[in-house]
């Protein structure tokens, strides 16, 4: 989907978003009030520069617009793969970005993300999964790696993985797996100003402050061990 079509569908009342090096930052108007819009496009590989640009946009919002929600548009193929990036501790810049999202939450900024094309591993962790609520469009690709690469690395036959993936969300790529496991709140058939507004209104009441993903994953039958294990640790003598 073209960025402008996506923005027009989500923010029919208006948006001002600029794109620099696959990173978008700006503001938009919603029925729930003004929001900061930020994120990545064209399958961006998250680099130091991208992470720092997003982090700066979050910090600016905290500084200049107390309480204004953050709406992240997620299209990332993962982290940048290069020696140069690793030399300067890429995990550190991704952690910094994640910490900025977390600070915004603690300072009263609701946050949602919408995966519109793809969301992969480290790039997804650093902001798409750090928000209060993550959503995905129906045709979005969400994964750690595709099954062919997984077959290569794990040395398990591709056919076997395909077969297991068909009835287990544990490693089957796809937004639906993440929904069943509680990490994606809901899948949207199309970008929708109405659905976004509903999400923001709910989050404005504090619905996103605690991490409920385990409980949701258990209720949806996609992740049935994590919640019990965590509860057992809390109860252990």
């Amino acid at each position: 989907m073209k960025l402008n079509n996506l923005l027009d569908a989500l923010f029919p009342a208006g948006h001002t978003v600029t794109v620099t090096d696959q990173t978008l930052t700006g503001t938009a108007t919603t029925a729930a009030g003004p929001v900061t819009v930020l994120g990545t496009m064209d399958g961006a590989a998250i680099s130091h520069d991208i992470a720092l640009r997003l982090a700066d946009c979050i910090l600016q919002t905290i500084e200049s617009a107390p309480g204004r929600p953050l709406v992240f548009l997620v299209d990332t193929s993962g982290q940048a793969l290069s020696r140069q990036q690793e030399l300067l501790c890429l995990n550190g810049s991704l952690a910094h970005l994640a910490q900025c999202v977390d600070l915004a939450r603690r300072q009263g900024h609701a946050s949602v993300s919408l995966v519109n094309e793809q969301a992969v591993s480290g790039g997804f962790l650093s902001f798409g999964l750090m928000v209060d609520r993550t959503y995905a469009l129906a045709d979005a690709q969400v994964r750690v790696m595709d099954l062919k690469a997984m077959a290569r690395v794990t040395k398990i036959a591709h056919e076997r993985l395909m077969e297991l993936a068909s009835n287990s969300p544990i490693f089957a790529p796809g937004a639906e797996s993440y929904r069943r496991m509680g990490a994606i709140e809901a899948i949207w058939e199309a970008p929708s100003a109405q659905l976004l507004e509903t999400a923001l209104v709910e989050l404005a009441k504090g619905a996103g402050l605690a991490d409920q993903r385990m409980t949701v994953g258990l209720a949806r039958g996609g992740r049935y061990l994590a919640a019990d294990v965590t509860a057992a640790v809390l109860a252990a003598d």
């Binding site: 020696r83 480290g122 999964l129 992740r223 919640a227 294990v229």
Partner: protein
Amino acid sequence: MNATNGFTPGHSYFEATARQRLQQILDAGSFREFLAPETVEVSPHLAALDLPGAFDDGVIIGAASLGGRRVLVAAQEGRFMGGSVGEIHGAKIVGLLRRAVAERPDAVLLLVDSGGVRLHEANAGLIAISEIMRAVLTVRAAGVPVLALVGGSCGAFGGMGIVAKLCSAILISEEGRLALSGPEVIETVMGVEEFDSKDRALVWRVTGGKHRYLMGDCAELVEDDSAAFRLGALEYLDTHGEPEPSLFTLRAVQQHLSDRMVRFGAYRDGLEVWADLGVAQPQQVPLLDRDSLVALKKGLPA
């Protein structure tokens, strides 16, 4: 290092198992395990792939004392599936961190030894790491410091590399490695010219403990010895509180990271970075012992 520097050396942290590390670092006899092996389910996701599981799923968690302080601790076992984070493994760490929010111990120690997400449980592992990330920050916001100790054979990679950098501080040994993508992954995808993962000296100059310490990405460099990790953790806790999360702090980090991209962003080897930092003989850095390197860092221009 000589024994007069505060600890008696004896146990390589790198060589030790996770359980040995706990014995060697914590106060003798103080460790109380949560979800001991006989009480935990073995990963059904691995069983579904006909792979052997482990009764602790590769991570040991519990309560202990460290120099008399109350701590909660998790130790990843790099020898089991590369310390990777699967559903049970991840949930044990999340549970420990949530317990820390409730109990307010003096500190949480994460003995990280992990390549990141367990691919056999990929989605569950990725989500678990996201939950660990949020939980670490919640523990810190509650005023409890979280220390990452990195010095095992698997280092701290992938999502666990991000988790380590979300902690209050990282203590790393020269043998420790900290990064996001492993050199093998970069080589496989981008080619051997980009990153030759067989060139161990290069791998250490890019991801190793000395480089991370010189750059300030890790707070302390310690000897490859469990007693040195213990002493390093005690010294850190003696001298640092856990500040409230603040805009001021993250603005300062943002400025620091931005400045260093400008200054070092074009380099591809630790040797170039160290020269720019003011190290007169960068090629000597890999040869220096721990104390000499710490002295060298202290003498660098601010």
